[in-house]
Each structure stands twice: as structure tokens, then as C-alpha cells.
């Protein structure tokens, strides 16, 4: 009696790979700041999924991957807060949150 999917490391890795590729595609193709931030969150989640999958299946110490994923979550929260407030400031200044429209360094 073998599970078809959830007992295999490859299933989690392929899933995280799809998430990473989606995030990479969005990061390059979307024009807005918030859309780029959403894509970065997808990439970070793919990395976290990989960490936890390797932690559960391969690591001798079963807490390292979880701890590291927690740190990644904390850093992602800080990054999102800073990015969003920068976006709000940029919108007030330029009346646009598209990356192509924001190219002046001063005034």
C-alpha cells in the first residue's frame, strides 16, 4: 500500500518548481510594482516549500528547515511592508505605480 503522490519528494519539488516559474514569469512580464511584489511572494513561497520538503524527507535534524522557513516568512513580511509603503509614496509623487513610468531620480 503506497500513496500515489504525497509520500514522494519529487511531487513537492515539481510543485515548488511550477510556483517558482510562475513567479519568475510574473516578475519579468508584469509592469506594476505591486504585481512584481506578488510575484516575489510566489518565489519566496516556492523556496519555503522546498525547504520544508527537504527538511521532512532528507534532513537528519528535523527542525532546521522549519526554522529557516520561519525566518524567510519574517523577512518576507518586512520586505512587503517596506515595498508597499514605497509604492504608496511613489504613487503620491508620480501618480503611477507602473515601473516604466517612474524613471526620474529627482523631482
Amino acid at each position: 500500500m503506497q500513496p500515489l503522490f504525497f509520500g514522494h519528494l519529487e511531487a513537492y519539488l515539481i510543485l515548488a518548481l511550477c510556483l517558482f516559474a510562475l513567479g519568475l514569469y510574473g516578475l519579468i512580464s508584469r509592469p506594476g510594482f505591486i504585481s512584481m511584489l506578488i510575484s516575489v511572494e510566489l518565489i519566496l513561497n516556492a523556496a519555503g516549500l522546498n525547504f520544508v520538503a527537504f527538511n521532512t524527507f532528507l534532513a537528519p535534524d528535523k527542525t532546521v528547515g522549519q526554522t529557516f522557513t520561519l525566518f524567510v516568512m519574517g523577512l518576507a513580511a518586512a520586505e512587503a511592508a517596506i515595498c508597499l509603503s514605497i509604492t504608496v509614496v511613489v504613487y503620491r509623487h508620480f501618480r503611477s505605480i507602473l515601473a516604466d513610468g517612474v524613471s526620474a531620480l529627482k523631482d
Binding site: F6, L24, S35, I38, V52, K62, T63, T67
Partner: protein, 185 residues
Amino acid sequence: MSFTFDPSLALYVYLADAAFVGFAVLTLFGGVVAVGARQLIHAVLGLVTSLVGVAGLYAFLGTHFLAAMQILIYVGAVCVSMIFAVMLARPPKEAETRLSGAWAKVGAGFVVALFAGLVLGSAVLGTPWAEYQRPTEVAGTIHQVGRGLLTSYALVFELISLVLLVAIVGSVALARRGRGTSGGV
């Protein structure tokens, strides 16, 4: 890793497999919506869907604490603040803005993502994972994780709290600028 189950538990194994496929579909569908939606608020909702799916996969991997933290931090904090930013910045519909070179960007993104997917996918499928796998143990409990956070990783833990403090102060200082009468810089 070779899990062996009592054949009398077959129904539960099938159900667990079906739930895994459900969470996987939720993750990928949410990701597609998050990068493909025309309205920004739909993209944020797609991100929420994808993150809930990843939380379910964390639960499948035996790390229930991480699943709860994923819901709390990502869905509860990050996505809600994204929705606040979307409402404050009132972005135009990105599809209507007809940027020059939009199709070139889409093409470049597709090519890069396909390349990365092929390279990493061949690495994933080409590695004999079974040789490296350890005998099945229970994933680290919340007890062990908490002990690790306060002993081995205490410095990193404190540094993360410092980074979060700086991020809070920084975002408040940034967003207050230009508010005018309310005492902003």
C-alpha cells in the same frame, strides 16, 4: 521514502492523496491567477488562494506550526496590507494601459521561466533522491522548533526582530511623508 500502510487503511490513503492533489491544484491555480489577472485586486486574491494551498502542503509535510504561521503571516498580514496598498494607490487597470513593449516583456518572461523550469526540472527528475533519504521520522515538533529558536538560532531570531522593527519604523516614516498637516516630515 517508502511509506507502508496497512491495506485496511487504503481508503484513507486514497482520500489523503485526493486532498494533496486538491491543495496542489489550489496552489497552481492561485499562482496562475496571481500572475495573470488583469485587475490588481484579483491578483492579490489569487495570491491568497495560492498561499492557502501552500499552507495545506505544509500540513501534509507534517509541519503544522508552519501551516498555521503561513495563514497568519502571509494571508493575515501580508495580503491584507497589499489590499490596503492597492486601495491607497488606486492603480489603473494594467491591461488598459497599452505599454510599449508589453508583448516583448511577456515573451521574455515566458522564455526565462521556461528555461529555469527546464533546467531545474531536469535537476529534480535526474537526481536519485531515494539514495539520500533518511528513515522516516516524525517531523520536528513545535517543542523542538521553539527550543531551537531560543538556543541554536537565538542570534538570528533577535536579528529578525530587529529587522522587523526597522521595517515598521521605516514604512511609517516613508508613508507619513507628504501627508502635510498631520505633522509629517
